[in-house]
């Protein structure tokens, strides 16, 4: 998966956060018909728990469903984090989400969604 910060040192923290929020919503849209609307929310929470030791600024996603996060709140949580670090953290979160999805359904639905997410991230760069 292309890491947003790899080629986009000029991208702002807000842009990074919004881009990843968009792809998480995309995952949710794709997963919901197969596994219900709660699954992605729980996948993100589980993924946040796994990466929070490396990326403590993502801790709030453990307690709070991502669907309840407003852009203003998210930007407040990410204040002081560099765009590169934020992109790395959100990328790790995304990887864990896909790992979780694979744990649940194997290769039934994860690969096409992964490809779609990769394409979208590339477009957003």
């Amino acid at each position: 998966m292309p890491h947003m910060s790899d080629h986009s040192f000029s991208v702002s923290r807000e842009q990074v956060a919004d881009a990843y929020l968009k792809v998480i919503r995309l995952i949710d849209d794709r997963v919901t018909p197969f596994l219900g609307k709660v699954t992605t929310r729980v996948l993100v929470q589980g993924a946040a728990r796994k990466v929070m030791s490396t990326y403590p600024f993502l801790h709030f996603l453990v307690k709070m469903p991502y669907t309840d996060v407003t852009p203003a709140f998210m930007h407040e949580q990410f204040s002081g984090v560099t765009p590169t670090e934020l992109a790395a953290g959100l990328d790790a979160l995304l990887q864990e989400c896909f790992a979780g999805l694979k744990e649940l359904t194997g290769d039934l639905i994860a690969p096409p969604i992964y490809d779609e997410v990769t394409r979208q991230l590339e477009q957003l760069q």
């Binding site: 018909p33 197969f34 596994l35 219900g36 609307k37 709660v38 699954t39 729980v42 996948l43 929470q45 589980g46 728990r49 979780g100 744990e103 649940l104 359904t105 194997g106 039934l108 639905i109």
Partner: protein, 592 residues
């Protein structure tokens, strides 16, 4: 040869038939799917326990796939101390290694689903194997050889946006599960989740019902075993429940008290006079008042000590309607006949002893008086002779003078003893209803003034004043008894203000009666004792009162005398120091 038009028509007909056939196939597929969902929906709805849900689930999944086993992991809820439950439902016998691998995968997927899992090992220990009956009856079936999982599918079980658990499907072959059937599998999982939640709620409801039933039986047992009688009424005042003791205590009424008739209607229909009082107590409680320790004589009036009950009743309020009218009354009945017997014996004893004491006391007082007068006479003679014979000892050195002092002490103590005996005699009179009052007309102010003068002579540290705010103070009352009660309250005011201070006796005139208040600046009365101060033999128990003499009868007798006149007495603490005793006296006695 067909024309181009004909061939076009044929082509169009063929396309129409093909399109029609496709739609028909699609409709048939939808119909089949709906029939399938309808069938499994019915089997889930019909399931009344979790094992029936498992059977329905297995049957539904086996319609879609051929697989080795499925499992249901249920997230522990607060009522079950958050302990998860795992049920493994095999389609055929599984190897131990396959089973272990399943548990590992379940634990791993549960972490993804945010279901707290301690470890796969612990999950394996607490798991249940719910094998279909046909597997149990076919032990000759060989165990599956595979030890590794080829395909696995985990689907969250959700109810109203809550993940209540997880459905997992396993097979030894790879590629068993496919994307096309995933939505249908999730639909089955949703059915199972709702059915399991219903089972959980039903189990919880049953457990709560059993607990409530057990509590009810326990309460029933406690109530029926109580030595005290317990009576419960509804909001109309009809007795709805009587425990064994209450039935026994109220048996003298010889009336069926549980007739579905309010007590106030039942009382006039019976000859039992005390039912009126019982109905009155219940009505008071129904009006929201808590009635404490009301005595009710339920025995025959001719008996020496009739059956006497003490009744306390309190309103029963519905939890949701605490502020409105009570939904009933709960009353506790105690048999206090034995206490009454003891009290009667005590009263008789006090009466006999005080009468017996009075006779020697009269003799002691009389002879002491006689001796005092004789010595006083002798001393006067000595004093008269002294100027003539200077060799005789001075009057102040005479042994008779010492005798006289001793006799004064005897006299004073005998008077004190007489007051105590009089109090005891008054007590007996009050108890036996023989407190006779001699009414006469006199100005109340005269008695108050005399009492103030008398109290002032023995109270050097105090200033006792009289404040009259009445024009006419003429009253018809028992002069001696009024003097006794005012003297008694003044004695207390002086006694309980050891540092001295002001004592004011105030007389005010009202429409039909006089209002007398005696205000002191003493130690006051602890508020918890205020309700008991007029009880017989009651003495305020505090460190300060230990130094004060008395047997706790004065105020009891005082109250009886005032009530004998038709008045009332009460006490209250002052804002600053001391307390105020107040009483009313009607201009003419209001005696019953």
């Amino acid at each position: 040869m067909e024309s181009s038009v004909q061939s076009e028509i044929k082509l169009a007909e063929s396309a129409f038939r093909s399109s029609h056939a496709q739609n028909g196939d699609r409709l048939a597929a939808i119909r089949k799917e709906m029939e399938y969902l309808n069938t499994i929906g019915k089997s889930f709805v019909a399931a009344i326990d979790r094992f029936q849900v498992h059977r329905a689930l297995l049957a539904a999944l086996q319609e879609l796939y051929s697989f080795a086993a499925c499992s249901i992991l249920l997230r522990g809820d607060p009522y079950e101390l958050f302990i998860n439950e795992l049920f493994i439902i095999p389609c055929y016998p599984l190897s131990e290694a396959f089973f272990q691998a399943m548990v590992q995968r379940i634990a791993s997927a549960a972490r993804v689903m945010n279901i707290p899992i301690v470890s796969a090992e612990e999950l394996a220990i607490t798991s249940y194997l719910d094998a279909p009956d046909e597997l149990s009856y076919a032990p000759e079936q060989h165990m599956v050889g595979a030890t590794e999982i080829g395909a696995c599918l985990n689907i969250p079980l959700t109810v109203e946006d809550r993940i209540v658990g997880m459905l997992s499907l396993f097979d030894e072959r790879a590629g068993t599960f496919d994307t096309d059937l995933l939505k249908l599998t999730t639909m089955i999982a949703d059915y199972a989740a709702v059915a399991l939640e219903n089972v959980r709620l039903r189990e919880r409801e049953t457990a709560l019902w059993r607990q409530a039933e057990s509590d009810r039986k326990r309460l029933e047992l406690i109530i029926s075993s109580m030595a005290e009688g317990l009576l419960i009424t509804n909001e109309q005042g009809t007795i709805t429940s009587l425990n064994y003791s209450a039935q026994h205590l109220l048996a003298q009424a010889e009336v069926d008290l549980k007739q579905d008739i309010p007590l106030r209607q039942l009382a006039p229909a019976s000859n039992v006079y005390w039912l009126y009082k019982l109905a009155e107590i219940i009505d008071q409680a129904l009006a929201g008042q808590t009635v404490m320790n009301q005595e009710l004589i339920a025995g025959e009036s001719g008996e020496t000590i009739p059956l006497t009950l003490s009744i306390s009743a309190a309103p029963l309020h519905d939890d949701s309607q605490a502020q409105v009218r009570p939904v009933g009354v709960v009353a506790v009945l105690n048999d206090i006949t034995a206490n009454k017997q003891i009290e009667k014996l005590k009263d008789e004893f006090v009466s006999v002893v005080s009468h017996e004491l009075r006779t020697p006391l009269t003799a002691i007082k009389g002879y002491t008086q006689h001796l005092v007068r004789r010595i006083e006479r002798r001393l006067r003679k000595v004093q008269q002779r002294q100027p003539e014979k200077s060799s005789t000892p001075a009057a102040s050195e005479l042994p008779e003078l010492l005798d006289l002092r001793s006799l004064y002490i005897v006299q004073s103590q005998a008077e004190h003893l007489e007051r105590l005996v009089n109090d005891l005699l008054d007590l007996s009179r009050v108890q036996l209803g023989n407190l006779r009052l001699q009414f006469e007309s006199f100005p109340l102010v005269d008695i108050l003034a005399a009492c103030v003068r008398s109290a002032q002579t023995s109270a050097e540290l105090h200033t006792i004043s009289l404040d009259i705010q009445a024009m006419d103070t003429q009253i018809v009352a028992d002069k001696n008894r009024i003097s006794q009660i005012v003297g008694n309250i003044l004695d207390n005011a002086v006694k309980y203000s050891p540092q001295g201070g002001q004592v004011t006796v105030r007389l005010e005139e009202r429409e039909d009666d006089y209002f007398v208040s005696i205000v002191d600046e003493g130690i006051g009365i602890n508020s918890e004792y205020l309700d008991h101060i007029f009880e017989r033999f009651y003495r305020v128990r505090n460190i300060a009162s230990r130094q004060y003499a008395g047997i706790g009868l004065g105020l009891y007798v005082t109250k009886a005398i005032i009530e004998g006149h038709g008045g009332q007495i009460w006490v209250s603490n002052n804002e600053g120091l001391g307390c105020t005793f107040s009483f009313t006296l009607p201009r003419t006695p209001r005696t019953s």
